[in-house]
Assembly symmetry: D2
Homo-oligomer: 360 residues x 4
């Protein structure tokens, strides 16, 4: 699928550069669009770096999910960092010049979930770069309630990936870790982050599972104790054997693959926890009696990041030095290399790719 | 399927009456078998009343599950009560004459689950009347560690059903209840018990779902606020509508039906809990992305009863008077009416049937 | 201590009636003060009923706490209900004419506690009627984030006491309840509410403790199983004896008395929970080794209400009918009888007193 | 206080060497006593190494606690490791030759706490070397239910200190750790262990507090980020300042000192947890209103070790290599140097001292 490119309009004071899904078809466009306006509770951020999520690939490729959800034209993208450029009259948390990133789930604050402290499960959520204008652009606007002020010691390339790293933190920290054994299915960036978070949090044994040798290698660099390749290993059997017949205390699912979910359950200790983050592309079959009920499993659906509990703990894990995510950051490119980054990511030959602003 | 009957052998001091699965085929036999012996940590109980579980029907009918699990000849049955007749040398908890019932999951005490306080999820569990000689007999022997001493105010017919009532208590009490809304799928005895437990525990709204009008009527008598019949109601849609669009805070699944599980997820509030007790007869399809992940659901596999936390709380709920399970106890028969009880239970025209000893 | 009264100023369009602490001394004044203005995120409520909290008595009597905290002149009071009169431009939750009450802890939304979902423990909290203008007045203004919209079936006199009732709900629901035994120390309105909430939530046994026979009688009407009078009963010994030597599973402390806290610990089961809401007037001695450590107790400091989880569950408990707080509402008076209400409350001859608007 | 020494009796087949509190006075005796017999559920262990607990010093010095609890003559001691020498007829977990250590809280298995999975809070506990014959001897007998089989990779000197290390594991793991900040009051061996466990479990910041520079140095070697000396530092103020005004998320109290408890509360974040293990020698004053209630603190009494959840997680933390307790093991001596070890420990110039068998 070719990435199309439209001609750029003339630059004016009120427009900005952005990457857009221009219409209901595969491809993207580099365009100029109006700079988004700032409401009284909003913060406008001059983006300095961003990264491409798997969701962005779905939008670019225009798959069934994208078709059902995205309303073009849309500037998309939601993994980003930048500098506050202006703030609405009611904003107290930040001021122009502050380094920030943001929670990409824009919550209503009024629904049953939001009013009980579950804003990450807001019934009326709109997602940055999916349901509203995103961050692959010179500027992005988010509500004050979504802004995360960065600690000065957090480097820009890590600030740009707080969204997926936060997914991994939320998933890993959804239960006890220290002195327990884990499996992590799917060694894309989020799975690799999760391996590192588990190990930094005292997990005694982490098996990482994927089919891509490069990804497994990244998982190893993040601290995985055992690597299993679904192409050649008996995954569930190996995990059970290597855990003295017990199975793991916790399973983190980051792939969305039906076989991974099945292998994960099959190699889970009785009473273990299963934290599901990876999105299966279709409904899938589960042997509920054997895998959930008789095992006494606790299965958690993990969505987004806890606002902002996940963020504080992520910051602490990063600052303490024990969690070093740099092995996963395999490439740093410029915004003008967006198409190259997309190709790299599609090829499976990259971990996380951060793209930094390369124009004034 | 006819219930066969074998001729009774001559009675001796060392034998007892029992109901047996005599061979790998449908049917049962009233037989005389040796009275089970008492090891140093064992308790022998003179059974005074018992009840028939759905599991017993599977054994009688000899379905695929029974074929794979049961090794005839076997005296089966596991819902019972009685009087301690003799105890092993190491037993301290009870003495002859004590009224008791028992936890039917015989745990090893040595595995990873048992040694961490999860004996109800023992990796080496043997179940009374399934994997070892059961309670449809004059005497049954269980380890001291499985004995539950009855409070004097618990009547015999309720003592006989502590096993299924304990399932319901374990399921209902697996999360917060007071001031929350629930759905209960499946209004067999355990589902009806669960309705009563939820209401006694401060649930603000309980919807009961079944296809059998008699069972729905029993659920209503146990306190259900809304009855939904899967034959004619839009179950998930009704629940969502009746909860102001929120869905329920908790869903208890007691039917094992795929459609129930799907309806239950679909009418669950974001962040809600799903407690699965009903055993599906086959693997089933779940839309994991929509129903578990995006909903932030917490899904619990519920097995047996927490030993003995569930039992203490069950006793308290019964003694306090707020939980009255008598509406579900539709029939009390004698042991000689076992076949009649089986037919009644199969017909769906009964709630729980307790059978009391009718011979010396 | 006499209640003083200042002469009323002339009424104008922009002023309203209110009850004020006029200066740093005992007493109150009925005054006219400017109607509070409405910021963009604020809601102005025409108060229709209110109630007097113990905190208000401290303010009236001007004790050491009041001296250290209150900055007169101040219109005080924080238990109230009313009708939305006007809303700021950014308000979406309510509109004029809506029946409401409100969370009285005004939180900053920006501190470590608030940003992690613990707004009820905000580090910069300002309390209505304590740190900012309160509700004993024709109008009160609160932020939208503090407004609770009332269900139409909640009567006005109960709407007026959501603040103390919410304290009781928060305290009682801070752990499992169903099938467990409890003690409640202090049978003022909050303690009596807690008794009712525990019983509605399946507590199997509740002992209520106080020194005032009227209060004990109210606790009994709310469902207490046992009443103990500290003047004549051996409180801790009685609880231990009545619970078969175990002690209670949970203790709710609503009195703030050192002896109550000591008796409560002494009659707690090993591993039990202690939920402390009552405010001791001074530091107190605890035998930490015996009462907390060797007992494996879990002691919770309870403050305010969880925003708004407590509120939703309170509403549900009220609507379901199982929690009936009317026995505690011993008096309903008019605003012009404020001084009489204060005397009644001081005398210990009343439960909760609600005062309704008696002027246009 | 001098350590007395009695003349040794002649050795026979049926006696063994042991260290005894011979009478109700300060001092100890090296004696020969009968080898303890083995009941059907018991395990007799040939002790190979042991360590001296603070409790043992109390017994040696014969303070008020010892006077109230110990019934001489008693062979004391409870931190130990050894080899199974013989087992009772009912024992299945271990066989002669197995390397083991043991849980020193001998629980009844029958009380309300034990039957609900809280055996570490058994109402009828008897403690090894306190209420029954201990481990400072050639042989010690414990019930099978107290035996912990050692992994081959656990060295003897660490096996000997599983009891105090388990205290630290239980305390540290009593709540979430990863990405959170902690204070640890008291840097004796258990406090130092706790520092190491917290850091291995992803704590982002740990302040260690003591008055003894050697102990603070050990805490630093275990990974403490900040050392505070109560003799010269403003402990609470420093912690608040160094945590950006928030206070710590968790406080582990290992000293039992009233001032430590007060400082710990004062530097706790709102909603933080306090885990109390150190035993205060007398009741102490707490500002319950300010420190527990308004802070929304959760205070846990920690006793013993969770049987055997704590033990599994301790083993995993040790095997994974991230928890290295060797810096705290400052001395390894022989049994014949017992008095020297006692002096060293009393002097505050040692961390943990392990004593290995030095006679056949």
């Amino acid at each position: 699928m070719p990435l199309s490119s439209v001609s750029e309009p003339t630059v004016s004071h009120d427009t900005m550069w952005g990457i857009q899904k221009p219409s209901a078809a595969p491809g993207i466009a580099h365009v100029r669009v109006p700079i988004p306006t700032v409401g009284p509770k909003d913060v406008r951020i001059r983006v300095t770096a961003f990264a491409i999520c798997g969701t962005d690939l779905h939008i670019i490729e225009w798959d069934r999910w994208a078709e059902s959800r995205i309303k073009p034209p849309l500037v998309f993208g939601h993994e980003f960092t930048g500098i506050v450029e202006s703030v609405g009259a009611e904003v107290a948390l930040v001021k122009p010049g502050d380094r920030v990133t943001g929670e990409t789930h824009v919550y209503c604050g009024l629904c049953y979930a939001c009013r009980r402290g579950l804003a990450h499960l807001c019934q009326n959520v709109t997602i940055l770069g999916v349901d509203r204008q995103g961050a692959f652009a010179d500027f992005v606007v988010i509500p004050e309630g979504n802004v995360w002020k960065l600690h000065p010691d957090i480097p820009e390339e890590i600030a740009a990936i707080h969204d997926p790293l936060g997914n991994a933190v939320h998933t890993a920290l959804a239960g006890p870790i220290a002195g327990l054994r884990f499996s992590v299915f799917g060694c894309g960036p989020i799975g690799c982050f999760a391996v590192g978070i588990l190990k930094a949090s005292g997990a005694s044994w982490v098996a990482a599972i994927d089919r891509n040798p490069l990804r497994l290698e990244l998982a190893e660099r993040m601290g995985a104790d055992v690597l299993l390749n679904v192409e050649k290993d008996d995954v569930a059997g190996s995990i059970v054997r290597l855990t003295d017949g017990r199975g793991v205390d916790g399973m983190l699912e980051m792939s969305g693959h039906p076989q991974a979910i099945r292998d994960g359950f099959e190699s889970l200790a009785n009473g273990g926890r299963v934290s599901l983050l990876g999105i299966p592309s279709a409904p899938l079959e589960i042997d509920v009696a054997k895998e959930i009920i008789f095992r006494g499993a606790v299965v958690q659906g993990i969505n987004g990041r806890i606002i902002f509990d996940t963020w504080y703990r992520m910051q602490e894990l990063l600052l303490t030095g024990r969690l070093d995510v740099r092995p996963v950051l395999t490439h740093q490119l410029g915004w003008s290399e967006f198409e190259k980054a997309v190709e790299l990511q599609r090829s499976g030959k990259a971990g996380k790719i951060v793209l930094k602003r390369d124009h004034a």
